[in-house]
């Protein structure tokens, strides 16, 4: 099986199966990232699809100066931000927070679902930049330099955003 680099090169040359392999590799990570940003499964699914479609359409422009995953997260971050801007509001947790897929897990109880909903709500309630920074750092383990690249801010600004997000989360979840 080709490594990621091989898949990327094949995908750039138009190999759809190679692109599909890359999608399978990243789809849940991107979905999870967007889900924590928007707190809405349906929106997260739509934006994940939009992200991979944009990646497909712009593969020829991917010059591999950044990693493929960073490039994908950047597209996903832009899609998410544009969605939030379009919706003219900061995303709040919908009433009856939908955890449909969690119902499939036999060990999932109401308490666990409520706990997850509270956590997603706490994160989605952060200001956008803090939310984005926190997600990329804590959950996606990105380096601050990479996050700075994704967000178009300085490394020190990402550290500040992260620290502020942490302080708020400690207060909300403490």
């Amino acid at each position: 099986m080709p490594d990621e680099q091989g898949l990327i090169e094949k995908a750039i040359k138009g190999d759809k199966e190679a692109f599909a392999s890359l999608v399978r590799q990243y789809q849940n990570r991107i979905f999870g990232f967007i889900m924590r940003m928007t707190a809405n499964r349906e929106t997260a699914l739509d934006l994940t699809q939009d992200t991979f479609l944009a990646a497909y359409q712009n593969l020829s422009g991917f010059r591999q100066e950044a990693s493929f995953s960073t490039w994908l997260y950047q597209i996903a971050a832009n899609k998410t931000r544009n969605f939030i801007k379009r919706s003219k509001r900061e995303v709040s947790l919908p009433v009856g927070y939908d955890q449909a897929s969690e119902d499939d897990r036999p060990d999932t109880g109401l308490e666990k679902k409520e706990q997850e909903a509270l956590l997603v709500e706490a994160i989605s309630g952060l200001p956008h930049k803090q939310r984005l920074t926190f997600n990329l750092r804590y959950f996606e383990q990105m380096k601050f330099k990479e996050i700075a690249g994704v967000m178009g801010v300085s490394v020190s600004a990402t550290k500040t955003n992260f620290a502020e997000a942490l302080a708020k989360l400690k207060k909300r979840l403490g």
Binding site: N28, L45, G61, R63, N78, R86, E116, G152, L173
Partner: protein, 193 residues
């Protein structure tokens, strides 16, 4: 090592996957109750966040996602194979360049700290997404991803766009922006500068 450095290290390395503490940090923690308490607070927060560290699509959602993406890709391929007038690409590229020109003009005109405004744009050169060139951007618009325009203009591509503008071109490019486009850009860009 002082307490602030230890706390900064703990905070900056706080990730869902955990991390190893270097020996000088553990040495400090052995001696410092306050920093141990801080570490404990962070560990508690990390444990609370664990349940959402991995969010996945359900099997049904995965099928819907893959079906939808395949359809979207097929549609995009079909659309791309249709004829696109050359002047449309040109006008879209010009629009993007004009947006960058407006960014610069606004940084100069509306920001009380002109140096800061320009620095924001110049610093964007360091971003990894400078790979997107104007032709690619034009194709993105042509391919129907119209919501890319705001992000391209406002975010990472701004630096690349500014690179495209040669001295003396800004006025010409600015002339290419319609009043409506200018209004949109001002509405959307002032917050970013």
């Amino acid at each position: 090592m002082d307490c602030q450095k230890v706390k900064d290290f703990i905070r900056d390395n706080f990730m869902s996957t955990g991390y190893d503490l270097p020996r000088d940090i553990t040495g400090h923690l052995d001696e410092c109750t306050e920093c141990r308490a801080y570490l404990e607070e962070m560990n508690i927060l990390g444990a609370k966040l664990d349940p959402i560290a991995e969010i996945s699509m359900s099997p049904e959602e995965t099928i819907d996602f893959e079906t939808g993406l395949n359809r979207a890709i097929e549609a995009a391929d079909a659309e791309q194979s249709t004829y696109v007038p050359e002047n449309r690409i040109f006008s879209l590229t010009r629009m993007a360049l004009a947006a960058a020109a407006v960014l610069i003009m606004m940084a100069v005109s509306f920001n009380s700290d002109m140096t800061n405004g320009l620095a924001v744009l110049q610093n964007m050169d360091a971003l990894q997404l400078s790979q997107v060139d104007t032709d690619d951007m034009a194709m993105m618009f042509v391919n129907g991803d119209s919501d890319l325009l705001p992000s391209l203009v406002e975010d990472e591509s701004a630096a690349y766009l500014t690179d495209q503008i040669k001295p003396g071109q800004a006025d010409d490019i600015l002339d290419a922006v319609t009043a409506e486009e200018l209004e949109w850009l001002m509405e959307n860009l002032t917050m970013e500068i």
